[in-house]
Symmetry: C2
Subunit: 437 residues, 2 copies
């Protein structure tokens, strides 16, 4: 059922980036927004309304939006310690071991990341950069059909490694026990029942119950994404997540059953997920397509998979491996899986990709749960300018300027002259006061 | 004329952060927007209109907005090589030397910044992070009353050190020669005549003349800031700049004339600039206030300075140095100048500041032009979560996942179990295919 494309037709369809996703909303979202907010109210405007009401009315607004949008009456916005503890206890020991193994590998990986603390004395005195943790971080954990405790681990642990002092979590009402258990494993006490744009607003502005944070991370639906974009500047954000995407480059050495299973795994995320195979090998293209048909029938989320594979997935036949790599690099996928004989060679041609998976031992599902690097990676081509979530997202730099007296005196006349050129005479005067001394 | 505050009254006025600056527009901006776009059109909506028209009509829209908003007919959007060359030649040799000294120190400073390239073999196989430069960067250089060639150097050079392949500049029509000369010093060939939101739109979406970039950096007016926020996601941005701010902490060892000159230099930037002195020493407070009155009369931008000092500046008397540091840390100033006997001690109490200037030899004007670190620093309290412009702004990370076969096999059963918990049966199947092998 998966379609096969030549390069040109792929570039006009599945490989075409829509960089304006926030300007054009899906029809069903426009309709559901108008149903709730009135005819003519765009999702953009609806999010403005939610942000403003939470800023002005705090917890009361959270409760009202939760009732209107989620259809749930919440009495306590904060989840009690007992509920978190009970969720933790309810997990089977074997599942708990899996969560803990995942958590420990995420921790070990991020602990090795170097921080940009440095000083130089080569420019006269001491110049450099000092890195400090962000004080308060809010993590958004979506609810929905498939609860993702893994996303909680993948965002909270890098923040903890960075040394963030206070980490809070917002998640829609009635969270799955696995999410609360993951919070318990990370020793997070502050979990709040708020979803959507109202959760983002609460973390950006603060309410009586939900503290204002300095940075918000985590993906959600389009309301969450729009809200994050709008509060950016008031708080930091790690990025604006779009639908998830995987690109596999395979040569004749690839195992077609494995490649097919990796594409199917990607396609099951949601209706907009994208799973694309690039290969110069027509045999691989054929056998992977056949394997997809074989395996699909056995999967529980087959309807979702069929839709996303048909609309956003495909197999692209490329002239050679090098041109497959060039297409991938231009696309800038969230995940790039190199099911090829020499993954190092192909990786050498790639600049733009969130995560690069070398060879079939490093299949993407291991990256989703167990490998160690955060699975929160840049989507929608944003790998051209942004990075997977990592320790650097939870620190900031202060420039350190500590010049010695000789260098200061030496640089003062040119500083005065530069300031004059910019008509900033007060700047020039400040420099001249030092020269006169 | 500068006012003196106690801590409490300062916290209610000049030290109070308005984190919602993008939701509330100044009255004069609302009026000028309505005059151009029609009654009821907010700056936010006006920027939407500009973005959409440039996205749809490219160069033609640039020319039309430039005519409407800047009142200028442009024939060529691209500045010719001759014009850049002539601007460079028109500079005096001594000013050229100043520009080149500044450029060389910016380059030397940023060349020493370590990049987060690393690998570990402790987690089974090879895991790590690979850093690559962003391919195309657009730098916005504002026009206006005081041309800032220094800002061009401070943004272009870190990008060049990072290895960015293509750097373009957009600046409003009739740029000062000093800006074009600075472009020539950086060997930038692509300078385009476009200002405001239309320039941001052109760099985000691309036009026939102006190439689409991957990231836009540089400050501008509120239209520019709003446009950057809206195109974020389509391209990267380095932050949303607000008015510039300096905080000075002084003890009894400070030179009152120097402190006064530093505050005056800061206040001359624009009507919204903020210059605040924190000191536990009443004598210093008095003498600095007197020095400000003395020095102000001699300065050409005295009207601007008086307005900004009165509205957004002041002297705050604190119980001791430590509490001055705590106030500064909570405020998170763009620039923090430590005119104290032991700057290292005070700096140890600070987590949130864009640039920390140690002692009176490292006065802020040197940081503006000559010291080396980029003078583009986080404003409006965003130092709580963001950093001065630096080499990291022009690179991105790819996570590298190259597990060995044994580790891959070992991690597959827990990955399958984790996936089952998340109801992602396709993920579990992909893991199980590896286990069966």
């Amino acid at each position: 059922m998966i379609k096969t494309y030549d390069v040109k037709s792929a570039q006009e369809t599945i490989l075409k980036r829509n960089y304006n996703h926030l300007l054009e909303y899906p029809e069903n979202l426009i309709k559901s927004t108008e149903k709730l907010f009135g005819i003519g109210v765009s999702p953009d405007k609806a999010v403005d309304i939610i942000l403003r009401s939470v800023r002005e009315n705090g917890d009361r607004a959270i409760a009202e939006w939760t009732k209107l949008l989620d259809g749930i009456n919440i009495t306590d916005i904060r989840i009690s310690a007992e509920l978190i503890e009970n969720a933790y206890r309810s997990l089977s020991p074997s599942l708990l071991d899996v969560f803990k193994l995942s958590a420990s590998r995420i921790k070990l990986f991020h602990e090795q990341q170097p921080l940009p603390n440095w000083e130089t004395t080569t420019l006269g005195g001491i110049l450099g950069q000092r890195t400090t943790p962000i004080e308060r971080v809010g993590v958004y954990v979506p609810g929905g059909t498939a609860p993702l405790p893994s996303s909680l681990l993948m965002s909270v642990i890098p923040a903890q490694v960075a040394g963030v002092n206070q980490i809070i979590i917002c998640t829609p009402p009635n969270p799955d026990k696995s999410i609360l258990a993951a919070a318990a494993i990370c020793n997070i006490k502050d979990v709040f029942l708020a979803g959507g744009a109202q959760a983002v607003a609460a973390m950006a502005y603060g309410t009586k119950t939900i503290p204002k944070v300095d940075k918000i991370v985590g993906a959600g639906n389009l309301y969450v994404t729009l809200a994050k974009q709008k509060v950016y500047g008031t708080v930091g954000i790690e990025g604006l997540a779009g639908p998830t995407e995987t690109m596999v480059i395979a040569d004749k050495t690839a195992n077609p059953a494995w490649v097919a299973s990796d594409l199917l795994a990607q396609a099951e995320h949601d209706y907009l997920a994208s799973a694309i195979l690039l290969t110069p090998d027509a045999d691989i293209a054929r056998t992977v397509a056949a394997e997809i048909d074989n395996q699909l029938a056995k999967l529980s989320r087959s309807e979702m998979i069929e839709t996303s594979l048909q609309n956003r997935g495909g197999i692209v036949l490329t002239p050679d491996l090098r041109s497959a790599a060039m297409l991938a690099d231009d696309y800038g996928p969230e995940h790039l899986c190199l099911s090829v004989e020499k993954p190092e060679e192909v990786a050498g041609w790639i600049n733009n990709a969130g995560g690069i998976f070398f060879g079939e031992n490093s299949y993407e599902v291991l990256g989703d749960y167990m490998a160690g690097p955060s699975h929160i990676m840049p989507t929608g081509g944003t790998a051209r300018f942004s990075s997977p979530l990592n320790v650097l997202d939870f620190v900031k730099i202060s420039s350190v300027i500590s010049l010695d007296p000789e260098t200061s005196l030496e640089l003062s006349p040119p500083a005065a002259k530069f300031a004059q050129t910019e008509s900033l005479t007060g700047h020039a005067a400040a420099a001249n006061y030092r020269i006169k001394q």
